[in-house]
Structure formats: structure tokens, C-alpha cells
Symmetry: C2
Subunit: 252 residues, 2 copies
DNA sequence: GATTGCACAATTATATGATAATACATACAA
DNA sequence: TTGTATGTATTATCATATAATTGTGCAATC
């Protein structure tokens, strides 16, 4: 099945046909989702009209069903919109659902920008202290146990007996969950994704190890049900992260 | 085409067949999305296995393509997941993307959502003061102009020359946008949806009219580039909203 | 009796082709 | 200039067929 259509063959890949194969996802549709999503977010379609269903199907050698379902999912995430006769078009970036983990991952996978990391940390400065305060007043015994477990893992990581990043994440996630507010808990995957990606950066500076005493202060305040203390402790902790980023922005 | 299949005919509607018709959305697929999403969120499938594609297609009298594309969208929003042989299943609520405006709308549309409204306002208590602070230090001239415009609309609404709810929304949205941080700006649609829905509740008590002086304090602080003042003013404003909700929760 | 392997079946996944609906663009008419 | 008809490109919908996946149960084996 030849591919030399009228679209212009500007790359070897295009000539051969982009073989998605379910290696890229759990099936063709999810492979397509990931490939298109990444392409859109990285701006590969910026100065051209987005292809039609038929063109995408031909280019990626999949059926129109696969294309349509992937496009529908990208629509649900705010990246695309489709209209008869008009075609499929990329929505303006302010319509993108940044709290969708796929979108966030695509965003962070691209040429990583300190700017995005800073903006994200600005959000954490609002969310996490508030979550800590809520956790202090509302936590269940299991919630507190999870926070403690996270801290214990951080101590273990200090002794090289656990992964420091995963321990750190576990601690922060546990607090979000302990807030007993689904909107705060919602940031779980977002914080995880963003931290996991940003570690490349922050690792570069310190020998790592997020400050254990600061984390302990947060833990204690929550355990003793002191909301404003927990809030302040968490705010201090994230302020340090922010200072690190500001440093990096200055030094380039 | 008879519908008396083996699914059990427990309602008149089901006997006749649920006619989606594109009146429910811009087309059949979006109608299906809305109908299924609402049904899932309101718990209509809670104690039963979720229907298969074929069953849904028959029940709603649409083709499998329509069902599949709607299901894919609901999957992208975190509500559903599908596996061969296993069928389509509802994901646990902590996987639902609460910052998707459709999901949020379905959540708020259901009865007894005062609790959700309170939890959402707890989030606003963190987000909006921080956004106001950022807006105070980072706002552009257009950003400030939009905030002023929102306030002007609120003044007009006071004189019955504008819709008070829409004016209030415009003010808060403008601040989120002026923060110049896409993660904060992201809350635009969420805040809009939530406020628009919540008006039913808050309307019940006072003649409503969000406090004009309080909003003016926020505006002035931002205009004069005083972040901490803006933050405090906004926090006071939302604390009042929260008090209103707490009142409602007490009185039922 | 427990484990392993195989056949079967249910369900989603994919492909294909046909027709309908939508709405942009153009030409033509008033 | 405005309105109207018509052609046409694209998504929307339907129908049907086949493939892939995987849980279930039965049989074979140890």
C-alpha cells in the first residue's frame, strides 16, 4: 500500500509509515493517543492545519475507528475539537486540561523548562500548606499512619535504604489524601508526575535529601492537630524548593 | 424494533428506548457522553455490572461507534475503563478527574451537593488568595483592566443593570488569569461551573449581592501591587462564602 | 489432590464500506 | 449588496465482519 499521497513526503518516517504497534500503549488506540498528544503538545502541528481523520489513518496505518477514538479522547482532555466540514483543530492552550496526567506528562516531557517547574511550584505553595492544615484538623488514624510511613521511608532513604524521590512523594501524597477533601486529593497524580519529572533538575543541585527536620515539623504539627502550625511548616518547606528553582533560573 | 431484551424492564423509559437525539448535545456521541456521565456520577450503576457496549447500543438505540467513542471520552475523564472479556467498568471515584468541567458539573447537578460545594470552597480558600497575590505582583495592564471591568460589572449589577452572578464570576476569573500562571488560570472553567451551580444554594439565604467593599479591597490591593494585602482581602472574601455554606449545612 | 495446559466463550479492539449531517465556499439571482 | 441555491469536504453515524484478549472450566498430568 503506497503512501506517496499529495501530502508531501518530508521525512523518512513518513515514507515508511509510522508503525504505532501496541508497544506504545496497551493497544493501537492508546498508542495513537500518546503519539498525537505528544506531537500536539510539542508543537509539531503549530504552523499547519491539523490532518483529517482519513489522513491520519493513512499516515499511521490504522483504521479510522482508531483515529476517531484517539481524537475523541484528546478532545476530552481539551487538546482537540472536531467539526464536520471544518476538520479537526487544536484548541488554544488555555483549554488544555493541565491537571490531566497525560497532558501534564507530555508537557513536562518536552524540552523541560524551569519556567513550568516554577509555575507548578507556585501552585504547590498554595495547595500543600492548605492541605496540611486540613490534614491536621481532619486526619483519620489511617491518614496519619500513611504520613508517618512516608516520613519513615524518607529516613530510610537517608540511610540509602529507600528511594529518596519515591519516599518524598509518598509523604506529600499522604498529606494530600489525609486532607479528606477530594479536590486536594486530586492533586495526587499531578504532584507525583511533576515531581518525578522535575527530579532531574533538583537532583542537580543539592546532593538531594529534602530536609528531614522540616518534614518532621510538618508531621508533628499534623499529628498534634495544629492546623496553622502545619500550614506554616509546609509553606516553609516549599519555599525552600522555590528558592532552589529561583537560584537555578538566575544561574541558567 | 422491539426492546424487550433480557435486561429487565424496570422503567417506562427503558421500554420505549432512551432516545438521546442530538438535542442533548451537539450530536449523538456528546448526548451519550452526558447521559452516561451523569448516570455514573449519580450512582445509577452502583450495585450492578456496567453494561457492555452492545447492551448500551441497544438500550439507547445508537450504533456501537457512538457508544465506544462516548466510553472512550469517559475513560479520558477517569470515569471508566474497558478491557476485553472483562467489559467496561466504573473506576473508583479517586480516579475521576474532578477538574474536568463535565465531571464537576455532573457532580454538582446531583442532589445533596452542599458537601461538594463546601469541599470546593475549601479549595478556593487556597487558590484564590494565592492567585490574587500573584496577580498583584505580576499583572499586566490588560489583566488589571479585566479585573476592573469585572468590578464595574458588579457595581452595575448592584443597580440591577447586570447579572450579579456573571459579574461576580468575571471578577474572580479575571484575577485567576491575571496571575500569569497557567495552573491558576486553569481553574477558570472550574470556578465558573461551580459558582454557576452553587448559586442555587447561596441565593436561598441573602438577597445575595457579594460584598462590594470587600471586592473593592481586593481590586485596590492588586492595582497597587500589594501581594500580601491582596491575599488577605481575597481570603476574607472567601471566608464569608464559607460561612454561608457552613450556615446552610447546619440549617439543612 | 494440586497444578498445568488447553479449548471455549465473552467482550473489547480493529477494519472497512456505506450513508447522513454539517457547514464552508462559490456561483448565481434579486 | 444581500440573499439563495448548490456543490463539496469533512466529520458523524451505522452496519457488519474479523481479530485480539483474557476469564472460566475442563481435562490431562504429575
Amino acid at each position: 500500500m503506497s503512501v506517496g499521497n499529495g501530502l508531501g513526503d518530508n521525512s523518512v518516517i513518513e515514507q515508511v509509515g509510522l508503525n504505532i504497534s501496541s508497544a506504545m500503549g496497551r493497544n493501537l488506540t492508546y498508542g495513537m493517543l500518546d503519539m498525537l498528544g505528544k506531537a500536539i503538545v510539542t508543537g509539531q502541528y503549530d504552523n499547519q492545519v491539523f490532518p483529517t481523520e482519513a489522513e491520519l489513518a493513512k499516515k499511521y496505518e490504522v483504521s479510522r475507528s482508531v483515529v476517531r477514538e484517539a481524537v475523541k479522547m484528546l478532545g476530552a482532555k481539551g487538546l482537540l475539537t472536531a467539526r464536520p466540514r471544518k476538520g479537526t483543530t487544536i484548541q488554544s492552550t488555555d483549554r488544555w486540561n493541565l491537571f490531566d496526567i497525560d497532558v501534564l506528562r507530555w508537557l513536562l516531557d518536552r524540552k523541560f523548562s524551569l519556567n513550568v517547574l516554577r509555575q507548578f511550584t507556585e501552585l504547590r505553595e498554595a495547595i500543600e500548606p492548605a492541605a496540611a492544615a486540613l490534614a491536621a484538623s481532619a486526619h483519620s488514624s489511617e491518614g496519619l499512619a500513611a504520613i508517618k510511613a512516608g516520613f519513615t521511608r524518607m529516613e530510610a532513604a537517608e540511610r540509602d535504604e529507600d528511594d529518596p524521590l519515591e519516599a518524598d512523594i509518598a509523604f506529600h501524597i499522604a498529606i494530600l489524601q489525609a486532607s479528606d477533601n477530594p479536590f486536594y486529593a486530586q492533586f495526587r497524580d499531578v504532584v507525583t508526575t511533576a515531581l518525578r519529572t522535575s527530579i532531574r533538575f533538583t537532583n542537580r543541585f543539592k546532593g538531594r535529601t529534602a530536609s528531614l527536620p522540616q518534614h518532621k515539623a510538618v508531621l508533628n504539627a499534623i499529628a498534634n492537630r495544629r492546623p496553622s502550625e502545619a500550614k506554616a511548616a509546609m509553606a516553609a518547606l516549599i519555599a525552600d524548593v522555590m528558592a532552589l528553582i529561583a537560584d537555578a533560573e538566575r544561574s541558567g
